[in-house]
């Protein structure tokens, strides 16, 4: 069965290569809104599914690209394990290949690391229809270049992921979530101070309105050994006056934050955009009110402030200002999701970075090495 499907992928890719057309790889296909839009013929992976290998004592799962993320997470949960980077799903259609293609991580990223950190190996099909394997199923591997790790976040513009092996982790023995209302500046200060201490911090979020001076809602998740979570809970209650959340409410909160289902993500007008800023640790509060006067201006901080979301106008001038702001602070910004009247270019271009000319050329050459005919050149990622 899988051989037949692989042969079908090969034929579709080789046909596209011969006719010099591009293919838009689609897993669940649930989010054409993410990345630059395109109207190329889809290459569908959803029929190519199934867990190929899962050895809990090896902490590795290998699955086909079209496997629903939900299937993978259910298999892991049965063995009390998890994907520590907590990929967002957004709908039951979300696939394993799509999660890797999108390269996104949820709240756990600040303590557990990025999706890329967990990719151990991939089986992929290049733009000529070659079926290739890189990396493997073991934690340590320096044989050849780490080609697999170029794919997370490549949005289907590099190669077709057929299968991937990712590292999984045991679920923590204990978790607790705490909440308080404090200013953005204070939240950033305590979070960064605590991150420098041996405390079981696992995730954080701060949600505030457009009013830069008002307090916002800080939620902290602790995860680890029972004793460590207990003593950190005591510390945070006494330092911040925080209260502990009911476990079911806490679990729903972290899931809805990850899936952008909280109210603060909802109010997105037709002319608005949800901007995402990725920033260095300890980046001070950013005063967005100077960038625009309209919109709800809702702000959400995650990853101890290293990932920030802001609602603002989707026009090109605001977009440029947000980008400049992020670069000024040593990070970058993307127009993550746009309202119905959104601008076309949604991602930060590499040319906004210092030293970029040489790397732009390297990137272009890398693309050629994987895909000489441009089968995957959909422009979804610049």
């Amino acid at each position: 069965m899988s051989d037949v499907q692989i042969q079908q992928f090969r034929e579709q890719i080789q046909h596209a290569a011969a006719s010099k057309t591009a293919l838009s790889i689609q897993g669940g296909g649930s989010k054409s809104w993410y990345g630059n839009p395109n109207a190329h013929t889809p290459l569908l992976t959803s029929g190519f599914h199934g867990i190929v290998d899962y050895q809990p004592e090896e902490l590795v799962i290998t699955a086909r690209a079209g496997t629903p993320l939900a299937t993978i997470e259910a298999a892991l949960a049965e063995k009390n394990q998890m994907l520590a980077f907590e990929p967002p799903h957004f709908g039951a259609q979300a696939t394993f290949g799509g999660a890797i293609g999108a390269g996104l991580a949820g709240p756990g990223r600040i303590s557990a690391g990025n999706l890329r950190d967990y990719v151990l190996g991939t089986r992929l099909m290049d733009g000529q229809g070659h079926d290739l394997s890189f990396g493997g199923k073991v934690m340590k591997n320096v044989a050849g270049y780490d080609v697999s790790r170029l794919l997370p976040g490549s949005l289907g513009t590099f190669a077709l992921i057929l299968e991937a092996s990712v590292k999984v982790l045991p679920k923590p023995a204990s978790t607790a979530s705490l909440r308080c209302f404090i200013s953005e500046a204070r939240a950033l200060k305590v979070l960064n101070e605590w991150a420098g201490q041996p405390l079981p911090l696992s995730a954080s979020s701060w949600i505030g309105s457009g009013d830069a001076n008002a307090d916002g809602e800080l939620t902290i998740r602790l995860a680890g050994a029972v004793a460590a979570v207990q003593s950190a809970t005591v510390l945070m209650k006494s330092t911040l006056g925080a209260t502990e959340l009911d476990p079911a409410i806490a679990a729903a909160f972290w899931r809805d934050l990850r899936e952008h289902k909280l109210d603060c993500f909802h109010a997105l007008g037709a002319d608005d955009a949800l901007y995402r800023l990725a920033l260095p640790a300890a980046c001070p509060p950013i005063d967005f009110s100077t960038l625009a006067s309209s919109g709800t201006q809702q702000r959400v901080l995650e990853w101890h402030g290293q990932q920030r979301w802001w609602h603002g106008p989707a026009d090109a001038s605001t977009q440029a200002k947000v980008k400049a702001k992020a670069i000024e602070h040593g990070g970058h910004a993307s127009c993550f999701r746009v309202g119905s009247n959104g601008v076309e270019q949604r991602f930060t271009l590499l040319s906004d970075q210092a030293h970029s000319a040489a790397l732009t050329a390297v990137q272009a050459q890398l693309r050629k090495a994987f895909d000489p005919s441009g089968v995957f050149a959909t422009g979804r990622l610049p």
């Binding site: 934690m139 050849g144 490549s154 101070e193 000319a357 050629k368």
Partner: protein, 498 residues
């Protein structure tokens, strides 16, 4: 493809050397360029002394601007360049190329910036791994990846080998602990991979530079993540009277949902060799000894040590000792840490291999190695990162006896092929270098190797930065395949290769 040209005659070499030296002298300080054989001989090999070659010259720049100008000159003259850190590599990655330049980054050894609030340090490539942790110890922070060579090896070398050590099971490899790398492409262009932010726009090029064995860029600055020093560490020393039980205990700990701070194993031969040397009080009757470390707050450690002890008992440990204090913890570790020098005491030479297998196959591989000891009539000590399935067999031989060296090489190659067959890889952390280049033909097929060359050309179209390392040419593999098969030695040719 690989650029192994026939050797030009001596006069030509001397002329090339003179030309290179006169082009590089204006760039470097008086003592920053070496070309007399008595000066360049210390650079003829790295930690893998069996492979040696004299370079045309050795350049020792003191800053990034000089690195850039040196590479521009070599690029223009078509001279290959081998970057070098501390030279502790064990796969010949920093071995010179004939008619090439060695670019030593050892003089770039400033710690540029330490920021406790962002938990980062910016360091030059020549800074020693351990020096980073020493410099930030007063802040309660440290740099987690800890290769056993950490007193000597450089962070530039660590980036290029994606090095790891005892702690990487819990804290990750170099890849997981580096945020940004600055480097110089062969063209002389200065570039930056990664960023201080959690991700970078476009492709993740930092990931491909990690473990690239000096073939993509000369690394000139590294920004590392620092992590809080745990308040306490404690280690369990468990003995097993059977390899199978020991191997299964490793898998059982992980399956129980515990990620120890370190999980290392020594076999009986190693225990005996080190005990003579360190007198740590090891159980000399044990067939295998496991060291399982826990770190964190005192409460966390107590909880984890309790859980691990229970798993080890259930797994059939014949003896269990838990360190009572820091001195005892270090004593338990002293044997593991001194295994290499101990091997050096019991044999004239030893050959350290590096392969990784799924954890559940540890006992199988150890038994295979026992059979190979008989076949090659050479002893082998096994001491390794069990938690990662990363094996480091130390093959004992006498280098003065060429036949013994050849047998040791064959022994090593057989181990690597067994690793691939068991679903693992030919190198976990030491890199391919020149040593394992033939084994790459076993692990990867033609199209995979062709793609590796595509990656190489994207960064270095002229293929002058450490060529002939890590990625074998197609013709090399064809030749190797013939050699191995005609010798009748390729095990299980019927099996599909990984």
């Amino acid at each position: 493809m690989n650029t192994v040209a026939p050797p030009p005659d001596l006069l030509e070499i001397q002329a090339l050397q003179a030309k290179l030296v006169s082009a590089l002298r204006p760039i470097l300080a008086e003592d920053g360029l070496l070309w007399e054989p008595e000066d360049t001989i210390p650079y003829e090999c790295d930690g893998l002394a069996a492979y040696r070659r004299m370079p045309l010259a050795v350049a020792l720049p003191e800053n990034e601007a000089q690195v850039s100008r040196i590479l521009q000159v070599c690029h223009a003259m078509n001279v290959p360049v081998v970057p070098r850190g501390a030279g502790t590599g064990l796969s010949g990655g920093a071995m010179p190329i004939a008619q090439g330049l060695v670019l030593s980054l050892a003089k770039l050894k400033k710690i540029v910036d330490i920021n406790p609030f962002t938990r980062t340090a910016v360091v030059q490539p020549g800074v020693r791994n351990l020096a980073i942790s020493e410099a930030v110890a007063h802040l309660g922070l440290y740099y987690a990846p800890d290769p056993s060579s950490q007193i000597a090896c450089s962070i530039g070398g660590n980036v290029n080998e994606n090095s790891g050590g005892v702690h990487c099971l819990k804290y990750g490899l170099t890849l997981h602990n580096v945020l940004r790398v600055r480097g110089v492409l062969m063209s002389g262009e200065i570039v930056e991979f990664g960023s201080l932010a959690p991700d970078t726009p476009g492709l993740d090029l930092l990931a491909i530079v990690m473990g690239s064995e000096g073939m993509l860029a000369a690394v000139t600055e590294v920004t590392v993540k620092l992590v809080p020093k745990p308040k306490l560490a404690q280690v369990i020393m468990a003995s097993f009277d059977d390899i199978e039980k020991g191997g299964n205990a490793v898998a059982a700990i992980i399956a129980a949902g515990i990620i120890p701070a370190g999980l290392e194993m020594m076999d009986k031969a190693t225990t005996r060799a080190v005990e003579e040397f360190v007198h740590a009080g090891y159980d000399l009757d044990a067939v295998a000894i496991l060291l399982c470390e826990s770190d964190g707050t005192p409460e966390e450690v107590a909880e984890e040590i309790g859980r691990m002890t229970a798993v080890l008992e259930k797994a059939g440990a014949s003896g269990i000792r838990i360190s009572k204090n820091e001195t005892e913890r270090l004593t338990f570790w002293s044997g593991r840490k001194n295994a290499f020098p101990a091997a050096g005491r019991i044999a004239a030479d030893y050959y350290c291999m590096d392969g990784t297998i799924p954890r559940r196959h540890i006992a199988t591989l150890l038994r295979r190695i026992q059979e190979m000891e008989k076949k090659y009539r050479l002893g082998c000590l096994n001491v390794f990162h069990a938690g990662d399935g990363n094996m480091h067999p130390l093959i004992l031989f006498n280098g003065a006896d060429m036949d013994e060296w050849h047998r040791a090489e064959e022994f090593g190659t057989d181990i690597l092929e067994a690793c691939v067959e068991l679903g693992g890889t030919i190198t976990g952390e030491h890199g391919v270098g020149i040593e394992k280049i033939n084994s790459m033909c076993v692990q990867f097929g033609e199209h995979e190797r062709e793609l590796f060359w595509g990656v190489k050309r994207a960064f270095d179209p002229a293929q002058l930065l450490n060529p002939d390392k890590a990625i074998p040419s197609l013709s090399r593999c064809a030749e190797y395949g013939r050699m191995r098969i005609s010798g009748g030695k390729l095990p299980h040719p019927e099996l599909e290769r990984f």
